[in-house]
Symmetry: C2
Subunit: 172 residues, 2 copies
C-alpha cells in the first residue's frame, strides 16, 4: 500500500483559511483587526472570530479529553460533518495536529497537516475533511468543542486509499 508523507506546517493564515478559522489573538488580529475594549478598559474583546456555522441552532459545548499520540502517525481515515463547523478550543496550551483536505466529488484530496502553537484553537468549516483530534503532548489535551449537538446523523468517514504518514522535520 502506498502512503503519503506529510510534515506539519505552522498553523497560519492564509494557508489554513479555506479549511477554517484560527482561534488565537494573532489569528483574530489578522482576520478581524483591532479588538473592542470592554470592562472599563480591562479586557480586549475580539468578536465572533470563529465563523460558527451550525445547523438548526443545535449548537453546544462539549469537552474532549484526548490521549496523546507519538510521531510518526499513520492516518488511514478522514471525517467530515455535514451539519456544522467544529471548533476545538485548547484548555491547557498543548499543541495539536490539524489534518485537513480538499474535497473532490466526495473524496478527500490534497491533504495538509498543520501544527498549532499551543495558544491556537481552530474552527473547521462545515463539511471539510479532517483527521481526528491528535495531541502530541505526553499528557494529551483537554478541549472545549463547539459543534452540532442535535439528533441527526452528522459524521461521514472516508477510508484513505493512500494513508498519510505524519512525520516531523528536524527544525520542529
Amino acid at each position: 500500500m502506498t502512503t503519503i508523507s506529510l510534515i506539519p506546517q505552522p498553523l497560519i493564515y492564509p494557508d489554513f483559511h479555506k479549511f477554517g478559522n484560527i482561534i488565537s489573538v494573532a489569528g483574530a488580529r489578522q482576520a478581524a483587526g483591532e479588538p473592542l475594549l470592554i470592562n472599563r478598559g480591562n479586557c480586549e474583546r475580539y468578536s465572533d472570530i470563529a465563523g460558527l456555522d451550525i445547523a438548526d441552532a443545535a449548537t453546544g459545548i462539549s469537552l474532549f479529553n484526548a490521549k496523546h499520540s507519538s510521531l510518526p502517525i499513520t492516518v488511514d481515515y478522514l471525517e467530515r460533518h455535514p451539519l456544522g463547523s467544529q471548533a476545538f478550543i485548547p484548555m491547557n496550551s498543548h499543541p495539536f495536529l490539524v489534518i485537513v483536505a480538499d474535497d473532490l466529488n466526495g473524496v478527500p484530496e490534497s491533504p495538509k497537516a498543520f501544527l498549532t502553537d499551543g495558544e491556537q484553537g481552530v474552527n473547521i468549516r462545515r463539511n471539510t475533511w479532517h483527521g481526528v483530534l491528535t495531541v502530541l503532548h505526553p499528557e494529551g489535551g483537554l478541549f472545549s468543542v463547539v459543534d452540532y449537538v442535535g439528533a441527526l446523523p452528522n459524521l461521514q468517514e472516508h477510508r484513505l486509499q493512500q494513508p498519510l504518514i505524519i512525520t516531523m522535520d528536524d527544525s520542529c
Copy 2:
C-alpha cells in the same frame, strides 16, 4: 457607603448550578455522567455540557484577553445579558473569579463569589447578574467566549448600592 465583603468559594455543584454550568471534566461527570469514547477509543467526549441558550441562532466565539486584578477587589456594578447565556472557556489554565447574584425585581440580590481551579470554565445563564471577567493571575488570562453576537442590545448594567469587596481568607 456600606459594602458587602465576600470570600470566593470553590466553584462546585450544586452551589453554582442556579447561575450556570461548570465547564470541566469533573463538572461534566457530575452533570452528565460517563463520557462517550470516540476516535477509536482515544478521546472522551462529554457532550453538550454547557447549557448554551442564545437567541436567534446568533451564537459566536470571541476571544477575551483580560488584564489581571489584585485582591481586594471592589465590585460596584454587575451586568446581565437578556439575549443569551455567556460561556467563558479559559485557554491558559489561570483561575478567575465568578461573581454572580440572584435577581429580585430587576435588582441584584444575595451576591456570591466563586473561584475557579484553573481547569474550569463556566457558562453563565441568560439574564443572570454577574461581575465582569476577573483574573487574579499576574499575566491575566485568555478566554474563548461563546455568547450572543447579533446586533440587538444585550447588556444591562446595575450600579450596586452596596459595593462588594472581594477578599481572600488565609486558606486559599
